[in-house]
Symmetry: D2
Subunit: 328 residues, 4 copies
């Protein structure tokens, strides 16, 4: 029989993403609503190892729903990858009477959590928080929608200057292994080409497409490039290659970088975080464990962590087709 959950821990781990504070708030408020205690561990797994935590009540999380970053801070912990590290963490959790942990983060976080739960019999529930949207079992991760809007806002600005100068811009966006950000922000920003890790268009196709664009009367162009694009060149090499082969283009590069992780979360991300985390608390109270909550077809669902970790979500290839059509 599962023991009654009286105290829940929450932490944020891995790369931070907008909406993590809305998620923390929802965990804390749901605990307050169901009259269980809540503690927040600082700096992800490291705070569990160090026993670094704070008591959280409904009022502790006021006025944070709209803030970027995470008030619990985040980190990647090497020590947690060791058995000893995880033992220290377990000892601190027991000392602190924490009956279950809610882990907000990406797949690295969930992998650590799964191992920890198996070794130390402490239930964990995962909440997908990452801008990359690369978690199986949810159509949307917390922070992804905000990151998309940060990107298109930046590209709108770049387009102002691109079209004032008849220029070609290469804009690198985040997404080392997954093209979600590039693909959707590329369509949203009206990019002429989108290069993603999942699809190698090849350099020839890129040149052809840019030439076609120009012949069709376009005077400026934007190419969105995912960090991990498969074309085998980084964004600066890419721009140099194009400049060499299409000398009439004044090609420029912008690497958007870490602005994509920050900013006030969108309504979508705040509602997503709220819904997922209320459910996470309810499932924890219900004695469930080793699962991840996700949003599938507008409904909150739970999936076993193991399943979530075994697969990768796939991009919608139809969006590449849409992008082609719209950049005609």
């Amino acid at each position: 029989m599962t023991k009654r959950i009286k105290r829940i821990g929450v932490m944020t781990s891995g790369g931070d993403s907008p909406g993590m504070n809305a998620a923390i708030r929802a965990v804390v408020r749901a605990c307050a609503y169901y009259r269980v205690e809540c503690v927040g561990f600082m700096m992800g797994f490291q705070g569990m190892i160090d026993g670094d935590y704070i008591e959280l009540n409904a009022r502790s999380v006021r006025n944070i729903i709209n803030l970027g970053g995470t008030v619990l801070k985040s980190a990647r912990s090497k020590e947690f990858r060791t058995k000893e590290g995880r033992e220290k963490a377990a000892a601190h959790l027991k000392e602190a009477n924490v009956d279950a942990m809610i882990l907000i983060g990406g797949d690295g976080t969930f992998r650590g959590g799964q191992l920890f739960s198996a070794e130390h019999d402490i239930p964990v529930i995962g909440v997908p928080g990452t801008i990359d949207n690369d978690i199986f079992g949810t159509h949307y991760t917390i922070g992804y929608d905000t990151a998309l809007n940060t990107v298109i806002d930046a590209v709108d600005k770049i387009r102002d200057t691109a079209s004032s100068h008849n220029r070609l811009f290469f804009v690198e966006v985040m997404g080392r292994d997954a093209g979600f950000i590039a693909l959707n922000s590329g369509i949203g920003a009206g990019a002429e080409e989108i290069l993603i890790p999942e699809e190698d268009l090849g350099l020839d196709r890129l040149l052809n497409s840019l030439e076609r664009s120009r012949r069709s009367g376009k005077t400026s162009s934007i190419v969105i490039v995912s960090e991990g694009d498969k074309i085998g060149k980084n964004v600066f090499e890419l721009a140099a290659y194009v400049k060499e082969n299409l000398p009439y283009y004044d090609a420029k590069v912008t690497v958007l970088g870490h602005i994509q992780r920050g900013g006030s979360p969108t309504c979508f991300d705040r509602v997503l975080a709220s819904r997922l985390c209320v459910k996470a608390v309810e499932l924890a109270l219900d004695g469930q464990r080793d699962i991840m909550v996700g949003m599938m077809n507008n409904e909150v669902q739970a999936i076993e962590l193991e399943k979530a970790l075994k697969s990768k979500p796939t991009i919608n290839k139809d969006l590449l087709r849409i992008s082609d059509i719209l950049s005609v």
Copy 2:
């Protein structure tokens, strides 16, 4: 046998919404891609009646994806509700060799389109463009996501001053018949109470809830009120009533009004508009008619206009529960 579509008309009608320009762009670009002609009618049905249209090619819609409003303008036409009005429109469409119409708007637009199609054998395809999200057959209408973000951006600002002054604010948002905007922006903005047309909480419950909030240590509160809330008082009367009954509250009112219709569309709305409108053109070319395209469970789907008009989408009542939990 359906005749081959060689020329497609597009218009925007009813209340304008952010993303309509992205939608127009997608129609025009998809036409260019499939090498059919495209014309845009000005001011919705009125432009059809008056024969007021412009030729549109791929370059006509450059740099509009990020603009609020609609470059084709919009209006509500009384004349189109008359048989004579619709006859004039049909005559102009035939004169202009328009083989099919794509109508971007809400249910008033679709109703007019359905009637027109039946009377004059001109295929129409509807695209849901309205901030209200009150169209059956799509989980999201174009403009809704942007409106939500406009609302939470405004409420975040109001919360700055509310919490600096320990005040209670009533914020009226759009949604005469549907509480979608109020409900989702209310959760996103962290509102203490949300009043919507679909649910009459009653004045007593509101007072109780505000008192409970205060006793729990909250020093400021936000109440989101849908235009069409069922409590039987407008937002000013509501504030007066609360002031009278809870005199320690310094209650203020803000009516957000038409800022909710404008602004640069979010990435979500741009991608939504792009996907729906490419599909609308493809369906038109395929000879289909009297349907509306929509986004259901992340997939573009078509539904008969008749069906779309017969029902109303329902709000997710679970969100009211989430809101209650989070405002603890």
Copy 3:
């Protein structure tokens, strides 16, 4: 001889304005830099009366420079208008060993501060923080630039929908006694007419101007109305009057309200707050008193509170002429 200042108090009072947190931060950091102590009184004068204050060190004000509102909260205190109220405040200040007070607020705040300083021999230094820009002795008050941008952002959105529908919009902005916000945001937003308290254009002129606009080919118009405009009608009556006399206009009203007080401060307001408050601390340490710091011609200057309170800054009438020229 003035006694050495070892402990400085700071508070925010009156209507809150964006940049007040940047101002508080600058006071606190300047105190830390000069190695004097700093305490913050909550809720303006009320916190002085109640002895409600917190110790502030350099780290207390981290990550607040970008936040709207005021972490010290603000209020208007009736009790401080009484001799007894001010005596309580003086007693608490002495108890707390506060040697000088920095008051961030508007003229109401300064008037209270001046009286208090005269009665109780506690030096006060004023910092102009209000969105209204109606303080003599400074070209800019903290929060004014942010409020202007909030207004034009809102009016840009309204213009989207106004020009999509060929509409006339009346937009009421803050400024009961001074037209600074209306005049500058009106020019910035490209308004067709601007109504301010300092100038009564008369209703006839407004009608003539709107008719001329329409004849010149304008299809939509924005009129910015200051709360305290002198035309003798409120914004709703104004719209009704115009509708009646110029029936071809579909006149709408938006009252921007309290969103104008919130939001993340602009760079201008953050730099202004930083410069003024460092100076305020330095002047306090220098033994000065009963003065206000201000920005005149890009230089920080001090002016006697008495002088600042005796006059009102005047709007630049040339801007009305500019507005006329640009709305041609």
Copy 4:
């Protein structure tokens, strides 16, 4: 005697900046108001050389006041640096009956204009439009205020993630020869250090300052680096150097790049552009020439182009002191 001005040309040249459209609009509207004709040359001097221009009336510039970029486009023209190029331009201007030119741009633009005016007896009037604020004779150039806000908006986002991860960020901003952007955005963003071309702090001082920051309890830090900083290392080398010497810091780099040139102009920039350009037209009509309009101490003033070109504005060194105090 100067001949009467009946037709004015306008162009934008050099790097584009937000507010150039507001400037164009003000030129066009002022011409309409004074009933003189106006033509716009495309792509700066190149359009003059090529005779590429459009007629502009009051309605041509509707709804552009809020757009980034420049509808007349911009370029740097090599051909205009040749005598032949300028002769072609003069011929086209005479053909087009242009009596005076208003040049919106930076010092490169003004230098070209001055030469051209001397050689061909066509009056030119300069309007300072550049984000760099590096023009003598005006306290503010058009676009500078917007660029500052773009920078602090980006740095606010970076700070979210910096403080979530206890990181050190180097953020490179524009300003090859002038530290205006770095200095003011650095104060506005609450940066710990600001590196500008005008002042070589030296690497030792930077390391000391960062160490001191850390010892004082700061867990994250932002260093703003001007493109043209004098420390002799680019921003990536700088980060590497710090990482090597202060290994506890996880130093990251973000190069903001061209987003700083785009975006909807702030109210400040719109009003500035409006005031300067109305004046520019009025001075042209008054027969003046070879001058630049600028904003000095909140008043529009004219200065001889020669004078404007001979000097460089200097940064306010007191701001470096303020920055030091505030990063305590």
